[in-house]
């Protein structure tokens, strides 16, 4: 039975919260239970942000958990804060252009995804988070990329629908990077 507890963490501007929302929305559309719980630092802007996203086949009891199946980590402080809180057997997917010192745990899977670089190559630095999401879903296909695209279509206002293709590209690039990393 599916019960995936995910922490996504990084700087305020890195699209951490919306990554969790996208994932959550896609899971919901596919009929799963979802909870998404944000947490901001005290900074006005540019501080840290993270969100706990839980996707489950059954009712979600606590939306707040302290140990996670997956960590998607976008900056160094998040790596330091959360590496120890991944359950044995879990995974970390991290942004490796940004994070120079990754976890050295042996009991979890650790995947370096140079998402920022890849995003630069796609000429849109802002899709780095979608690349990471693609990478994660490649490793743990709890929902399909099509599901994510469906979700984006629903969640984005019409005027942003021109951005759908680049997001699709980003998801796929992420999946590809994960295949390379694994």
């Amino acid at each position: 039975m599916l019960n995936e507890e995910i922490i996504i963490a990084g700087f305020g501007g890195q699209g951490v919260l919306s990554m969790g929302q996208t994932l959550g929305y896609a899971a919901m559309v596919e009929g799963k239970n979802v909870s998404w719980m944000p947490s901001y630092g005290p900074e006005m802007r540019g501080g840290t942000a993270n969100c706990i996203t839980i996707v489950s086949d059954s009712t979600i009891s606590s939306p707040i958990v302290s140990r996670f199946d997956t960590g998607i980590l976008l900056n160094q402080p998040s790596m330091e804060k959360f590496e120890s809180r991944i359950k044995p057997g879990g995974i970390i997917v991290y942004e490796s252009t940004n994070i120079l010192h990754a976890s050295e745990r042996k009991d979890i899977g650790i995947y370096a995804i140079p998402a920022a670089d890849a995003a630069n190559k796609l000429n849109n630095v802002k899709v780095a988070n979608m690349i990471l999401l693609g990478a994660f879903l490649e490793k743990k296909p709890i929902i399909s990329l099509d599901g994510v695209m469906e979700a984006l279509k629903k969640v984005l206002p019409e005027r942003y629908h021109n951005l759908l293709p680049i997001n699709r590209q980003a998801l796929e690039a992420g999946a590809e990077l994960m295949r390379q990393a694994s």
Binding site: Q21, G24, Y25, M28, N33, V34, S35, W36, M37, P38, I60, S61, S62, P63, I64, V65, S66, R67
Partner: protein, 355 residues
């Protein structure tokens, strides 16, 4: 998905705002404060296309008094705030309770006292249930523990408010307000009962309406007090709501509401995995408090642990309900710290060793 369902992924605050619109809210008055500013933001965004008013007041004091005016004029009306702002409303709330005006009030509880922190807390339980304002009055207090309930209790809240001509308080917290979950909006019949007592202009066919909370003669005032008490008795009789989780065979009971009930639910699961027969009693109405069921459960269980995000407030109501039958203890974290289920479980196990 059924025809008449509308499923969304929303923040608790947004779900509450959407529900208010769907519940036929006529007017909302509020002042921004974290962690509930989304409510006014959502409403001002929706206002042009839907039939209600959302007005940003100059302060919480103004908001609650606008609510007073609108409620007195017969509108279905609402405000929301968070702890410091809610404190500022206490005079107004006491007036509304005294004048017996129906309305929905929301406190998305954050950490205090003082300016405190914007993180979730349950530090306002006493204030909500025993009266933050002056005088003998009661609010009907609903404590949602999910985004779905943030929405559902809006419908329920408006109805109860109208039914009893009493302000209803939804006591949520920053986590339930900020988190996103699936929320289902059912198509519902919204029925608004007539309010002949409202000040809509003294039309020739009815006596004029006067909304007041002033009863200068003690005899009159006491009569009003007794009338209120009678109403409160009625509410206590009819409106107690709670949820029981695995209490049937429970040796131990957790008592928790709102966010801490969500965490405690997980604790129940964790403890059951380890063979401990634990149940959870979740008060949904904090007032009227489910004292009866707790008193009955006290005959069955060996002890109760009250889990709160505060220094120990609801525990008093639990103790009053149990009246000495079993040991009741408190586990809480404060200041916006949210304990993990593991945290709570550890303390629960410590507790049962003392029994």
């Amino acid at each position: 998905m059924e025809q008449n369902e509308d499923i969304r992924l929303m923040k608790g605050n947004e779900a509450m705002a959407e529900a208010a619109i769907q519940a036929g809210m006529d007017a909302y008055f509020g002042y921004p404060i974290t962690p509930q500013s989304e409510v006014l933001e959502y409403l001002t965004r929706e206002m042009p296309n839907r039939n209600f008013l959302a007005l940003q007041a100059e302060s919480e004091v103004a908001s609650i008094n606008m609510v007073y005016g609108a409620a007195g004029a017969g509108a279905r009306v609402m405000t929301s705030s968070s702890s410091p702002g809610w404190s500022l409303m206490q005079e107004g709330v006491s007036y509304i309770a005294s004048a017996q005006l129906p309305c929905l009030l929301v406190n998305v509880n954050r950490g205090g006292p003082g300016l405190g922190t914007i993180q979730p807390s349950q530090g306002d339980y006493f204030q909500a249930t025993k009266g933050g304002g002056h005088g003998d009055y009661r609010l009907l207090v609903l404590a949602p523990n999910s985004v779905q309930e943030m929405a559902d209790f809006v419908f329920l809240g408006f109805e109860l408010a109208d039914k009893y001509r009493n302000p209803v308080l939804m006591l949520s917290d920053g986590a339930i307000g900020q988190m996103m979950e699936k929320v289902v909006f059912h198509k519902r019949e919204i029925n608004k009962i007539p309010k002949p007592w409202a000040t809509t202009g003294k039309t020739p066919d009815r006596e004029r309406s006067i909304i007041t909370s002033l009863f200068i003669q003690p005899e009159k005032m006491e009569k009003v007090n007794l009338e209120l008490l009678k109403k409160y008795d009625e509410i206590e009789k009819n409106e107690v709501r709670y949820e029981e989780i695995m209490t049937d065979d429970a040796d131990y009971l957790l008592v928790a509401y709102g966010l801490s009930a969500r965490i405690s639910h997980k604790v129940v699961l964790l403890a059951r995995e380890r063979g401990l027969k634990v149940g959870l009693l979740r008060p949904i109405t904090l007032w009227p408090f489910p004292a009866g069921v707790l008193n009955k459960l006290a005959d069955k269980v060996k002890g109760m642990l009250v889990v709160e995000l505060n220094a120990g407030q609801m525990i008093e109501d639990v103790k009053l309900a149990v009246n000495g039958k079993v040991k009741v203890e408190h586990y809480g974290r404060m200041g916006g710290i949210i304990p993990s289920p593991e945290d709570v479980e550890e303390n629960f196990e410590k507790f049962i060793k003392t029994l």
